[in-house]
């Protein structure tokens, strides 16, 4: 019998890794990709809750400090309940195996990255293709590069926006728009970002782009180049190195939107990590619990798989870990939902659950719906109807857990890796008889 990990995002991958390292047989059962595949290229551990817009850019706290502050503010957050030592150990194990990200130095200040919407934000670490603004020498002039005809990114607007940021935060960087020719045919303007990435990966793609950047430097000198997130999927790390050599300056990406190569790279890294772990490419639709133990999982194709322990890493709404069909529920076991450490009282209109009770009036409010999740004990075991754990060998990880809000806490992947790793370790320990 295997420890069955339900879900193959970052949390599921971390759980699989940890369970296997603890000596268990592992099976990963998963449907289509969820939130992890739609990520940008940043790996967030925590935003600094004390950060204020307009703070000096060099006033960034260390990653450790940001996480501590978040844990102090959000007492139900996994960092608060499991401790930062647990987070550090999990990251050390997971990031080294994922490979797509530089390792985290917890005592170092948060990194700075630019986004395709013309903003700058902090993060713990990023994919190697992403340009870290904090690594650039003071006084660097950064070229915001637009591939002529590819209008997903308006370099003039983004450069102006980043310049506003630099002024506001007294960062010693300047940003200028630069247009380079790379697309070849009229119809290329309609290409999606991952298709442009394939052009970059193609035989002469890097050479052409590198030459274009080098050529642009002769017309307008710059000390670094910020590009849209299209620098390859499979070969991303080497592409950026080669471009840097050809252009003669640091080259890297801005954070890009959902459905672009940055998310695809994380997805590919997860697939690589899970390559030698048995997988069942099917959604789990039920878990059989008997005498307080999870005994088997039921897949959507009808298969029943015996399990020695189960880790639910199914995400929140995007991944399908929670669904709202009228009322909100957890679809596999109908586990009760919690909010801020207490059972969530979901207001229901006669004909369905009231979305205005779940979502605030403002689009960027701290919506209850996006903080809901399954309740959990200190060993990451979901709570059942009576407030006790649903089963001794049932665990949960990632966005499915209540107590954190990835959109405001800036801890999405950090929580996924931390809770995934420990849920996997403890699931392996609980597999028993």
């Amino acid at each position: 019998m295997s420890v069955v990990i339900v879900g193959a995002g970052v949390a599921g991958a971390a759980a699989a890794l940890a369970a296997q390292a603890a000596g268990a047989r592992v099976l990963v059962a998963s449907g289509p990709p969820g939130a992890s595949a739609l990520c940008a290229g940043a790996w967030d551990v925590a935003f600094d809750p004390k950060a204020v817009r307009g703070d000096r850019s060099d006033a960034r706290p260390t990653i450790e400090t940001a996480a501590q502050r978040l844990a102090a503010l959000r007492r139900q957050h996994p960092y608060a309940r499991l401790g930062l030592g647990a987070a550090r150990e999990a990251h050390a194990a997971v990031l080294s195996r994922l490979g797509a990200y530089a390792s985290i130095v917890w005592e170092a200040p948060l990194a700075l990255v630019a986004t395709d919407l013309g903003a700058v934000r902090t993060t713990a670490t990023a994919q190697s293709s992403v340009l870290r603004l904090d690594s650039l020498p003071a006084g660097t002039r950064v070229a915001v590069v637009e591939l002529a005809g590819y209008r997903e990114l308006d370099a003039l607007h983004v450069a102006q926006s980043l310049t506003d940021w630099a002024t506001e935060t007294r960062a010693d960087l300047t940003f200028v728009p630069v247009e380079v020719d790379f697309l070849t045919r009229r119809s290329d303007a309609l290409l999606a970002p991952h298709e442009i990435a394939r052009m970059v990966e193609a035989s002469d793609g890097v050479a052409r782009l590198g030459a274009a950047l080098s050529d642009a430097r002769t017309r307008l000198p710059f000390g670094a180049a910020l590009l849209p997130g299209v620098l390859g999927v499979a070969d991303a790390a080497t592409i950026v190195d080669r471009l840097r050599a050809l252009a003669g300056v640091p080259v890297g990406e801005m954070l890009a939107g959902p459905g672009t190569p940055q998310g695809l790279r994380l997805h590919a890294a997860i697939e690589a990590l899970l390559a030698d772990i048995p997988q069942a490419p099917a959604r789990v639709v039920g878990v059989d619990v008997e005498r307080h133990r999870a005994r088997a999982v039921r897949l959507e194709d009808g298969t029943v798989v015996a399990a020695s322990a189960v880790v639910l890493a199914t995400g929140r709404f995007l991944g399908g870990g929670l669904v709202k069909e009228g009322r909100v529920r957890e679809p596999i076991l109908d586990l009760p939902l919690y909010l801020d450490g207490r059972p969530a009282t979901l207001v229901g209109a006669p004909f369905g659950a009231d979305p205005t009770a779940l979502f605030g009036q403002g689009v960027f409010d701290r919506h209850d719906a996006l903080r809901l999740g399954v309740g959990w004990d200190d060993r990451l075991r979901p709570l059942g109807r009576d407030g006790a754990v649903a089963a001794a060998n049932l665990f949960a990880a990632g966005d499915l857990l209540e107590g954190h809000d990835p959109t405001t806490d800036g801890s999405g992947l950090g929580v996924a890796a931390t809770t995934g790793f420990w849920a996997g370790r403890w699931a392996a320990e609980a597999r028993g008889a």
């Binding site: 939130a35 940008a40 940043a42 967030d44 817009r53 986004t115 395709d116 919407l117 013309g118 903003a119 700058v120 934000r121 002529a148 005809g149 590819y150 209008r151 997903e152 308006d154 003039l156 607007h157 102006q160 926006s161 506003d164 940021w165 009229r186 119809s187 303007a189 309609l190 954070l255 939107g257 959902p258 929140r316 709404f317 995007l318 399908g320 669904v323 709202k324 069909e325 009228g326 209109a349 006669p350 004909f351 369905g352 009231d354 979305p355 205005t356 779940l358 979502f359 009036q361 403002g362 689009v363 960027f364 919506h367 719906a369 996006l370 990835p406 959109t407 405001t408 800036g410 999405g412």
Partner: protein
């Protein structure tokens, strides 16, 4: 106070307050008669009921019983609208399902009468379908349906109709402005109208505009505008919402009897489907309309009786409008007359002021003609109406979207949508692409909307915000709800209007917030997943608080 010879002549023959279909229709009518008119719209053209209706110029078959004249005149005017703006109309065949053979017979008989009016609007005669036939056409129908009657209506984009009218007015000399609020109506000797004081809500600043006639075409805002002169204009404002579904859920519109006996429908409409509508006396703010959870559930429950799968459909938004219905005490909203009245306030002590109450989208042109006749008579302008004869901008000739697509190197589907919105003027919209190929790029992928059209909306159609662009092009009103296009649209509007990136970011946020408000009361199913993604995307990348 007596007018002296030192007083300058009035700047305009008439000022029109309100940029809905009636106000813009009157501005066009009068301009075509050579009158010099100004039009001021507080929000944007089509902001109110005109841009949030069921999107049909229907003949109102249900008025046939009580108000046959309304039906007849609607059908005649629908025929005119087809002539002057054929590009804006699309056929919507309707299914009226029956739950018993007796009901089917009743419908059949009723539509024999409605058929009389169909030729007026080039509609097809009704047919009667058996159970098997109707299920072949629409497999999603409830098992309880035994047959159906088919009839024909025309769909239209109300906001585009307003834009077409206002652009034509401007091209014939009218001075038109959106985002301008009339704050006062200036009066002179004997209480006569002398003009208005208007505030520019975007640029700031106030000015006085002189005219001896003011037409209050404010729709549901009408009573508030009349009250500027102390007059009471009675109205029964009727709030109506629609659900917007992410795709065409069928090829036919389907009618249903609602839980309270009213008739509602689900209709395929451009790239989406609309389910509607409600009709409730409304006493709240007109400037911040929101659909409620109850209204959403009412429509879903009622539609479910005929289309059991409707709750699986993905609701991507709601539209809300308030009808300026004629006042009558003691009558159910649904039963109120859809006729219109033009009040000449000369008899109320405010000579020169006219107020419009009531009306339907289908007969807007007729109402505009009557109002223009009244204004022209008062001005001593003998020119007759010609709005039923002269095509609206883009309506003069047919354009082949495929040829357009090849010539400008754009997708054929994008060309078709462009031709729908702009008719023969689609060429002018696309022309800049030849010198600047970047304009070929797609700004909104759901519709799609090309960058050339977004810039055209700002330069030529007075769009000042993402919401305005959305009204003109449907950008951001599709399944992505602005997630993919709000930022880009805001950047383009900022560039076209000379504003900063900070303004663009605020504009993007405002647009996303407004789309969210429209979606919130109906959030369910897959749309909640989309919401999670869109909120995360903008929070984490937008540098938002």
């Amino acid at each position: 106070m007596v007018a002296t010879s030192a007083e300058p002549p009035a700047q305009f023959d008439a000022v029109i307050i309100g940029g809905g279909v009636n106000g813009t229709g009157i501005a066009r009518d009068l301009s075509l008669r050579g009158a010099k008119v100004a039009l001021f719209e507080k929000h944007d053209f089509g902001f109110g009921a005109s841009g949030n209706s069921s999107g049909m110029i229907h003949g109102g078959p249900r008025y046939l019983e009580k108000d046959a004249d309304v039906t007849r005149r609607s059908c005649i005017d629908s025929g005119y609208i087809q002539r002057i703006a054929p590009h804006l109309l699309f056929r919507i065949p309707f299914l009226l399902p029956a739950r018993s053979p007796r009901r089917l017979f009743e419908y059949d008989t009723f539509f024999d009468a409605y058929d009389v009016f169909q030729p007026l609007k080039r509609g097809k005669r009704h047919t009667v379908l058996t159970r098997d036939e109707v299920r072949t056409l629409e497999p999603g129908l409830s098992d309880a349906i035994v047959g159906a009657v088919t009839f024909d209506e025309w769909g239209i984009d109300g906001a585009r109709l307003c834009i077409a009218n206002v652009v034509d007015a401007r091209e014939h000399g009218a001075s038109v402005a959106n985002h301008h609020e009339v704050e006062a109506i200036v009066r002179g000797a004997g209480g006569a109208v002398r003009g208005v004081v208007v505030k520019d809500l975007v640029g700031g600043g106030r000015r006085t505009v002189t005219a001896p006639i003011v037409v209050n075409a404010g729709g549901a805002w009408g009573p508030k505008i009349a009250a500027l002169t102390g007059l009471t204009v009675k109205m029964r404002p009727g709030k109506g919402i629609h659900l917007v579904l992410d795709r065409r859920i069928g090829n036919y519109a389907v009618s249903a009897t609602a839980v309270d006996g009213r008739t509602i429908f689900a209709e395929p409409w451009q790239n989406v489907s609309l389910v509607g509508t409600t009709d409730d006396d409304y006493y709240g703010s007109l400037d911040d309309l929101r659909a409620t959870v109850d209204e959403v559930q009412y429509l879903l429950q009622s539609m479910e009786s005929v289309l059991p799968g409707i709750r699986q459909a993905r609701i991507i938004g709601t539209t809300v409008g308030v009808r300026p219905t004629l006042y009558r005490y003691g009558v159910l909203e649904d039963d109120l007359s859809r006729d219109h009245v033009i009040y000449d306030h000369d008899r109320d002590g405010v000579p020169g002021l006219f107020s419009l109450v009531g009306g339907k989208l289908a007969s807007y042109r007729e109402l505009a003609e009557e109002a223009s006749d009244a204004v022209a008579a008062r001005s001593g302008n003998p020119t007759r109406c010609s709005t039923h004869l002269r095509p609206l901008p883009g309506g003069d000739r047919e354009i082949d979207p495929r040829a357009l697509a090849e010539r400008f190197g754009i997708a054929e589907y994008a060309a078709r949508r462009l031709v729908y919105r702009h008719g023969s003027r689609a060429e002018r919209v696309l022309a800049p692409i030849l010198s600047d190929p970047r304009l070929r790029a797609t700004t909104c992928t759901c519709e799609p909307v090309l960058e050339a059209e977004v810039r055209w909306a700002v330069r030529e159609e007075m769009a000042q915000s993402c919401e305005d662009v959305g009204r003109r092009t449907r950008l951001g009103l599709g399944p992505c709800g602005g997630m993919r296009c709000a930022a880009k649209c805001a950047q383009i509007v900022a560039q076209e209007t000379g504003r900063s990136p900070a303004w663009a970011r605020a504009e993007m946020t405002d647009f996303l917030a407004a789309r969210f408000v429209a979606r919130r009361p109906a959030l369910d199913g897959d749309q909640v997943r989309q919401e999670e993604l869109a909120i995360a995307r903008h929070r984490l990348a937008g540098g938002l608080p």
